[in-house]
């Protein structure tokens, strides 16, 4: 396991080109091309904004809601797409595994990284929102007009790369685990898509972490690792006026993510030899 892990950096050139290929191929042939990396999150946010502004106004006083949503939804899209794609990655790359001597873990890793690049490309949209709301007064649903909000707090922004890094480690660990198991149980692909929908609603993305009013609900949110990522993003980007109070949770999650990564890699490494036969 350690030898294989240590050999991985040698393949960074390959990982790099595969990620680039993945992104190029994704929008090749579409009229707008790479624009979709921005277009997709904008459309997604528009849909959620419409739903939660008109059809089902949230029972929160979070304002502006679209910005709040944006902070949790973009990282979630990275997370969920990575897991969905990597669960399928070994099966989709079956001809590589069967015909070329090729470290298989590259495939799920590429899925995670390609989605991370998409996430990073969508960050300017978030920046746009932040600048916009820093310059206009906010009108609440009850007609109360509040002052323009504080855009960002530089001291908190330094935490952001750490949050991204922890999400990367966590996602990669889960991706390795899922991709290896899916080779043996293809049912995982179908279960996973639905499970992720449930997970999405069980995570404070469309609602605030603070809504948890019963101990049970609070416990449920606390054991959900993505809660702490979502809350971290929200605290850094959405609540710049408050101090980043979630840092200890985040560090604990970081430690857990490293453990999950090694566990995922261990399972993957153990199952490695069976891939070429089962795929």
């Amino acid at each position: 396991m350690w030898d294989n892990l240590a050999a991985l950096p040698r393949y960074r050139g390959l990982i790099q080109s595969l990620v680039a290929r993945e992104l190029k191929a994704r929008y090749r042939g579409s009229a707008l091309g790479m624009f979709w990396s921005f277009g997709n999150p904008i459309l997604l946010l528009t849909v959620y904004s419409i739903v939660f502004n008109y059809f089902q106004p949230p029972r929160t006083d979070i304002q502006p809601y679209a910005l709040f949503l944006c902070c949790g939804l973009l990282p979630w899209t990275w997370f969920a797409s990575s897991l969905n794609e990597s669960a399928n990655s070994l099966l989709a790359g079956g001809n590589l595994i069967k015909k070329v001597l090729f470290p298989a873990e590259i495939l799920p890793i590429v899925s995670v990284l390609a989605n991370m690049v998409q996430f990073l490309l969508a960050l300017p949209i978030l920046a746009g929102f932040l600048i916009y709301y820093a310059n206009v007064p906010i009108v609440g649903p009850d007609g109360v007009v509040s002052e323009p909000r504080v855009a960002l707090h530089a001291a908190e922004l330094v935490w952001l790369p750490l949050v991204v890094l922890i999400q990367l480690v966590l996602t990669t660990g889960l991706a390795l685990l899922l991709s290896a198991l899916t080779v043996h149980f293809r049912d995982i692909r179908d279960i996973l898509a639905n499970l992720l929908t449930l997970w999405f609603f069980a995570t404070p993305i469309i609602y605030s972490w603070r809504v948890a009013d019963s101990p049970n609900l609070k416990l449920m949110l606390d054991v959900n690792p993505f809660t702490h990522l979502a809350v971290s993003y929200q605290e850094i980007l959405f609540h710049p006026e408050n101090a980043f109070g979630h840092v200890w949770w985040l560090l604990a999650l970081g430690a857990a993510s490293i453990a999950i990564f090694f566990a995922g890699y261990w399972v993957f490494d153990r199952l490695r030899d069976s891939f070429a036969e089962v795929v």
């Binding site: 050139g13 390959l14 080109s17 595969l18 290929r21 190029k24 191929a25 090749r28 042939g29 790359g93 001809n95 590589l96 595994i97 069967k98 015909k99 070329v100 001597l101 090729f102 043996h184 149980f185 399972v267 153990r270 199952l271 030899d273 069976s274 070429a276 036969e277 089962v278």
Partner: protein, 443 residues
């Protein structure tokens, strides 16, 4: 000659696969616990692709693996390539490997040939700079200079294969594994590939070749092995190994043709005897010769009870070598005495073209009397046919063509030939050269 250090060494290698459909958990469990799959599964749930197989390929030699489909050749190659791991035994390979197992594996259809060359090259172990250096050569070899910036999905399958082959061959490995990939591209491209292999050999690289092209093994390989059902059947000098393999294949074919011939005969027997002669009688058998539809007809006053092709030793055979003497023997039975009878035979190609036909009338025999059982034989000093499958017509009929018993294309035999000449007939021949020409036979 080759040195004694093996570049590839397989020692007592056994490879067992789980049969599709048997317990999935078993593979997962055995992989997780690092235990052999054999302890998890019953023998009926496994398939042994290779058993107790040992192989040594010395550095710098070219080694050919032959065998029927499913004999374990490709499994052996995958083990050497490291794509799968042996269930037991050890595999050792010294030096950088490039495996030409599936060409263009990993090409992405949506992106250009150029980008695919880079990614494929990196996958096969080249650095970006190495690919840049060889890029023009790769494209030129694949003959794709005009299309290299088009997405690969627009390529024809030949273009796709050529590009895949070109990348793989330019990896410049010390050990090259080839699995039946020379059938890519046209004649010209195949020659270029063969030149490239010759070049490899000259530079002292090791090549392990899996192929059905026995010619190739004889021409290129220093050593060969014949795999049969996961076991090594023969190993050593390519000519000897190939000869053993070919004779085994012939035996197999002989059995196959014999059984299909039996089936044809059963069909013949099950056709209820005397068919109404007037009804389905071909009006003019001579004109009918050109229409190939198998069957049997005739009044059966005289019946052909058995047809056999026998070799020089008098053994019935279904596979003969081109130019070998052979005798076509039919056993006939006259249910009542007749004095108007002609025996005829016809040899047809697999496409139904008549190659030769004659009868006792054409060859100027005058019928006397036929009553009861008789044997009729026509001996050929040499059946000078090219390789292929042939069908026979045999018949007994009246002088005016009205058949007693007509077997149309019911009997099959096969001609084998080492030479790959073409056509339908091989006249005996010998080359002669004179003047300012230097030319010598290959062996």
């Amino acid at each position: 000659m080759t040195t004694s250090t093996p570049a590839i060494e397989l020692t007592k290698v056994t490879k067992v696969y789980r049969r599709y459909g048997s317990r999935q958990f078993a593979t997962l469990k055995s992989a997780l616990t690092h235990r052999s799959i054999l302890t998890e599964l019953k023998p009926s749930e496994t398939f042994t692709a290779l058993s107790d197989f040992s192989l040594r390929v010395p550095v710098g030699s070219t080694f050919g693996l032959v065998g029927r489909n499913g004999s374990g050749k490709s499994t052996a190659l995958k083990l050497v390539a490291g794509i799968t791991k042996p269930t037991s035994g050890t595999v050792t390979v010294r030096g950088r490997i490039s495996a030409l197992i599936e060409l263009g594996a990993g090409f992405h259809p949506e992106i250009s040939g150029r980008e695919n060359v880079f990614i494929n090259g990196i996958m096969l172990g080249l650095s970006k700079r190495e690919i840049e250096r060889r890029f023009d050569e790769i494209v030129e070899f694949a003959e794709l200079a005009d299309f290299i910036d088009e997405p690969v999905k627009t390529y024809s399958s030949g273009m796709y294969m050529r590009l895949g082959f070109s990348v793989a061959i330019h990896v410049d490995p010390e050990v090259l594994l080839i699995d039946e990939v020379l059938a890519v591209g046209d004649e010209g491209f195949t020659h270029k590939c063969l030149d490239k292999f010759a070049d490899f050999k000259r530079r002292g690289k090791t090549v392990l070749l899996v192929t059905h092209s026995l010619n190739l093994v004889e021409r290129f390989c220093d050593e060969a092995a014949w795999l049969d059902g996961g076991h090594m059947r023969a190993e050593g000098d390519p000519y000897r190994v190939i000869a053993e393999y070919v004779s085994d294949v012939e035996k197999q074919e002989e059995r196959f043709l014999a059984s299909s011939d039996d089936k044809a005969r059963n069909v013949v027997a099950s056709v209820s005897a005397p068919v109404q002669p007037a009804a389905d009688l071909p009006p003019d058998p001579a004109a009918d010769m050109m229409q190939a539809a198998e069957g049997r007809w005739g009044s059966r006053v005289v019946e052909i009870v058995d047809v056999a092709l026998v070799d020089a030793q008098g053994q019935p055979v279904h596979v003969i070598h081109s130019g070998d003497p052979a005798t076509l023997r039919m056993t006939v039975r006259a249910h009542q005495p007749v004095d108007d009878f002609v025996f005829g035979i016809g040899i047809f190609g697999a496409d139904g073209v008549c190659i030769y036909g004659t009868n006792t009338d054409i060859d100027e025999f005058t019928p006397g009397k036929l009553d009861g059982d008789a044997t009729v034989a026509i001996a050929f000093q040499g059946l000078d046919l090219v390789e292929g499958t042939y069908k026979l017509d045999v018949a007994v009929h009246k002088h005016d063509g009205v058949p007693y018993d007509y077997h149309r294309l019911l009997h099959t035999f096969r001609v084998k030939s080492r030479a790959k000449d073409v056509g339908i007939y091989r006249p005996g021949h010998r080359w002669a050269f004179d003047g300012a020409v230097t030319i010598a036979p290959k062996h």
